[in-house]
Point group: C2
Chain length 250, copies 2
């Protein structure tokens, strides 16, 4: 992993700035988190389960995932990570990381250490509250997936994943509408949805036959977005927020 410096803005500030108007002091505190940057090659592991890290990261570019391995060798993908996401808060809290962070594409991350993060929390109460907000969004998104794994069919789970992926990608790249490059193998989709690769294949085919999606050369097109969202009981958890209770900017 090569390490470098430079670049002006802050990815995290972009994400937070969409929700509230950041003060100059807040902005500069956030920029301090992204002063250094590091490349992570496709497939490379940024942090391994049960190891400790000593630093946090902000994902600046690319797609990553977090997963756990069970002792029978199977894998559960917990979450896909997009630019602006903070990586490794859970490994901050534990002596050993509860999950592995792995790059699905060529990525750029910005590492910063615990002390910097701790200072930020202390000196910028509103940012601290916003980080709590995003931690809750993530928690609720996890509960949606929990309900999907516990109570919905294979087809619905795959549909929900396709929809969610599109929405997350679009929040970085506004040019995406109903079509996007599916940069996951069917095995990865299976490990995220609790299915086998073989069955994921069948479900994709079925969605295609039913006219809900189209596929060619790795691109997915959502043909009936309304139908997909209804079938998948899908809610975009980055919408519908209420931040009126947040403290004043400092």
């Amino acid at each position: 992993m090569g390490e470098g410096t430079g670049l002006s803005r802050s990815c995290l500030a972009d994400v937070l700035g969409e929700r509230v108007a950041l003060s100059p002091a807040e902005l500069s505190a956030l920029q301090r988190l992204e002063e250094r940057q590091r490349h992570v090659r496709r497939g490379a592991i940024l942090l391994r389960e049960n190891e400790s890290s000593g630093e946090l990261f902000i994902l600046r570019k690319g797609l990553m995932m977090s997963y756990v391995l069970l002792d029978d060798g199977s894998r559960q993908i917990l979450r896909f990570l997009f630019p602006g996401d903070i990586l490794g808060i859970s490994s901050l809290v534990y002596r050993e990381s509860p999950e592995t962070l792995c790059a699905l594409s060529e990525c750029v991350v910005c590492p910063f250490d615990y002390a910097t993060f701790s200072e930020l929390l202390t000196e910028h109460p509103r940012l601290s509250a916003l980080i709590l907000v995003f931690s809750q969004i993530e928690r609720v998104a996890l509960t949606d997936r929990l309900a999907a794994l516990g109570r919905t069919s294979a087809k619905v789970r795959v549909a929900a994943l396709l929809l969610d992926l599109r929405n997350r990608l679009r929040s970085t790249d506004k040019s995406i509408t109903d079509s996007y490059p599916l940069s996951l193998t069917q095995e990865e989709i299976g490990d995220a949805t609790g299915l086998t690769a073989v069955h994921v294949n069948r479900m994709l085919r079925q969605l295609e036959e039913e006219g809900l999606i189209a596929r060619n050369s790795g691109r997915v097109t959502l043909l009936d977005e309304r139908g997909l969202a209804r079938a998948a009981n899908y809610v975009d958890r980055y919408e519908g927020l209420d931040l009126s209770w947040l403290p004043r900017a400092d």
Copy 2:
């Protein structure tokens, strides 16, 4: 739901105080959250999905759960709630609550409003960080359940639930060792583990036949705790924390 006042200490402070030594200022801020209290009858709903609340709660006594209903009528229990847990942070963040809060036994909760919470976050950075920590613990516990639903068998999921329940109960009631009252119906266990009540029954029976647990009149006894934990890949997420990075007490 009857409303009353009184009572001296703070449940939340008890929980947080196990991890760090709280300052007098922190202690009194936490006590302010539990000034009022309200009884919740067994089966009563404290907050309904898609409704908004205007207040948060601290669970002081009893057992509650949070769940979502899917549109086919099925239910997914997201989490069991124990004394000292903060209820409704996710409904603070959204205009409408993403989940329902419901009492599984006679409960006592302490309501407090958003402004009080917001003040606490602003004026006590270390408490704010600790709340973030507990939010992460909860998130990791959810990922454990996600992995269980996605990648483990019915028997293992039930075993994990039994173990986790015992551990959570013990953190309130130190007299519990290997035996405790299972205050859930088999349908509730099913809704938590993504199974049907019928299949939960069979799995309990199997665990019993294999000598891993014993049951009589609603009590469960863990006979082979080691074996259960190994089979269930169980990790107690309230252990193994690293809080050395926390800011100073104020």
